[in-house]
């Protein structure tokens, strides 16, 4: 997937300026930045919800003209259908893609197993905890077999402990399925923990791209982990956002 010279502005405010980014298949990329740096806008454009004002986004050589099942999305507020059971939520994707119902349910069960929520198949989302909801959200996005999985601060609304387990789970899922993932976050440690490459964005531009060469499974004690974090931190903090950033590092 390629993002070429993409720009976007709302009214007179320009959110993104000439962003270039290439994502290879099976790559895990984290987009990191302060709130309002345009990272979510970029993700929404890749998903096809917004259209770029300048430049072009292509997937396998084809320009993105709108949302498609080839680019799955996981939302911060999980966006599960509250009137459907967990299983129906996950089988929604296969079903609307014309898979026979029984087969769709089987697929859904498979992915439910992947996220470890089989006992909750017939529960409604309202009965689950935040972390469980987000797991269902991930299973739902994966069940329609997207080429790229887009995740917009998926763990942003979770508490610190749940966040920790969720990123270990996500890491496990990734090593099993090897999907291509674009992951937006504002947590440096989360980015370093998960990503193959970390894209740091500032003021609508890509400030720097870091290759995280640390072997999986990573932990904060892995060699080079702390160093990578402080290198990213320096790029993020070298300006007026100093205070804001130091507050965010903690999360």
């Amino acid at each position: 997937m390629e993002v070429r010279q993409v720009g976007k502005s709302f009214g007179s405010r320009s959110i993104l300026k000439k962003v270039d980014l290439t994502v290879h298949s099976h790559e895990f990329i984290c987009i990191l930045g302060h709130s309002g740096c345009g990272k979510s806008t970029l993700l929404n454009m890749i998903a096809g919800y917004l259209l770029p004002d300048e430049g072009e986004i292509t997937v396998d050589g084809e320009a993105v003209k709108g949302p498609s099942k080839s680019r799955g999305m996981v939302f911060q507020d999980h966006a599960l259908f509250p009137w459907m059971t967990v299983l129906d939520n996950i089988s929604f994707g296969p079903e609307v893609q014309k898979m026979p119902k029984a087969q769709a349910k089987e697929t859904a069960k498979e992915f439910l197993k992947l996220v470890g929520l089989e006992p909750y198949a017939s529960h409604y989302p309202g009965e689950l905890s935040g972390g469980m909801k987000q797991r269902v959200g991930i299973a739902r996005a994966l069940a329609s077999r997207p080429d790229i999985l887009l995740m917009d601060e998926p763990f942003g609304a979770l508490d610190v402990l749940t966040r920790e387990t969720m990123r270990i789970e996500l890491q496990k899922i990734c090593s099993q399925l090897k999907p291509t993932i674009l992951f937006v976050t504002h947590s440096i440690s989360e980015a370093v923990y998960l990503a193959d490459r970390v894209v740091v964005m500032k003021h609508g531009e890509i400030a720097e791209i870091f290759e995280v060469g640390i072997k999986h499974p990573r932990s904060s004690h892995s060699a080079g982990f702390g160093e990578m974090m402080s290198r990213i931190e320096r790029v993020l903090m070298d300006e007026e956002h100093l205070e804001l950033a130091s507050a965010k590092v903690g999360s």
């Binding site: 709108g66 949302p67 099942k69 799955g72 507020d77 009137w83 609307v96 309202g126």
Partner: protein, 296 residues
């Protein structure tokens, strides 16, 4: 959830009654007795008290004559008079014809409202043309239209059903439209990203998402359509609960009036209860409210 709780409530009831018989007084202070749980389950004590007080007052009034006793007959008198009236078959006929009218009007009104709501939310142009007109005629009380309807369509069933349908139509349309408009955009986005077509989004996301709003609209309009029913039966009708009231007024049969009034109340309660049942069935997924906020 409710299904799971049922047996425990029953068990508690039988348990309490068993203990009261054995231990007697000691328990009564701590636990609700069997009759207590019955009244907790069916909250009929207030209405029972209401009728008892009414009965007492009417009986006292018969001898004390605060005002003409005929103006407020006692409930027991109403029961026996109502039974006499029922024997003539008028009551069953009236209930049947009223029920048919309200059902027809309510269903037609809701169906048209939902259909128009669908079209209006789907095509901007339709909404642009329809909503100013609806804003113009919507606030007119439907009852003001009844004489006109009678002149236009005669005194048959059609103007009555039309009036009920019209009173149902406006609130249901307003609430349903609001429901379509307030579908969270992330739900639509996620459906799109899962490969749903526009049609699938409509049937599988927009419609179920608007159902709670539709039910609120139906609940609101039920009261309105009942008043439309009664008034339309008071003007140019040969049957129905509203007709009994007008007929009773003409012959000064106050007991018949009360019988009809009570029947109207009962029928409304029944319909409201049915709607609640439907709501509970469809909205099993919904949680919230005070009951879920704090456990007691």
């Amino acid at each position: 959830m409710n299904g799971a709780k049922w047996p425990t409530v029953k068990d508690a009831g039988s348990l309490a009654s068993a203990e009261t018989t054995v231990i007697g007084k000691q328990v009564r202070g701590k636990r609700p007795a069997a009759s207590g749980t019955f009244f907790q389950k069916y909250n009929i004590l207030p209405s029972l008290l209401f009728f008892v007080l009414w009965e007492l007052f009417s009986r006292v009034n018969e001898s004390a004559k605060f005002f003409n006793p005929n103006f407020l007959p006692a409930p027991t008198v109403l029961l026996s008079e109502g039974w006499e009236l029922a024997k003539t078959g008028i009551i069953t006929d009236s209930i049947i014809s009223s029920t048919i009218r309200i059902l027809l009007g309510f269903v037609i009104g809701s169906a048209v409202a939902v259909a128009l709501g669908v079209v209006m939310s789907k095509f901007k142009a339709v909404e642009r043309w329809f909503s100013p007109i609806l804003n113009l005629v919507g606030p007119i009380p439907a009852l003001a239209l009844l004489p006109l309807f009678i002149i236009w369509f005669g005194i048959g069933e059609f103007p009555k059903v039309l009036l009920i349908a019209w009173t149902t139509f406006i609130p249901v349309l307003v609430y349903t439209l609001d429901g379509f408009k307030s579908v969270p955009s992330t739900l639509i986005r996620s459906a799109l990203s899962l490969g749903a077509t526009e049609r699938q989004i409509f049937t599988r996301v927009m419609l179920p998402s608007a159902i709670p709003n539709f039910l609120v609209g139906a609940q609101v309009s039920l009261g309105l359509s009942f008043s439309a029913l009664i008034v339309s039966e008071m003007m140019g009708a040969k049957s129905g609960l509203g007709y009994i009231i007008v007929d009773a007024r003409n012959y000064f049969k106050i007991t018949n009036m009360f019988v009809a009034i009570i029947l109207i109340g009962l029928e409304y309660s029944l319909f409201s209860y049915l709607l609640k049942l439907v709501e509970r069935r469809i909205m099993a997924w919904r949680k919230g409210g005070l009951r879920d906020a704090v456990e007691k």
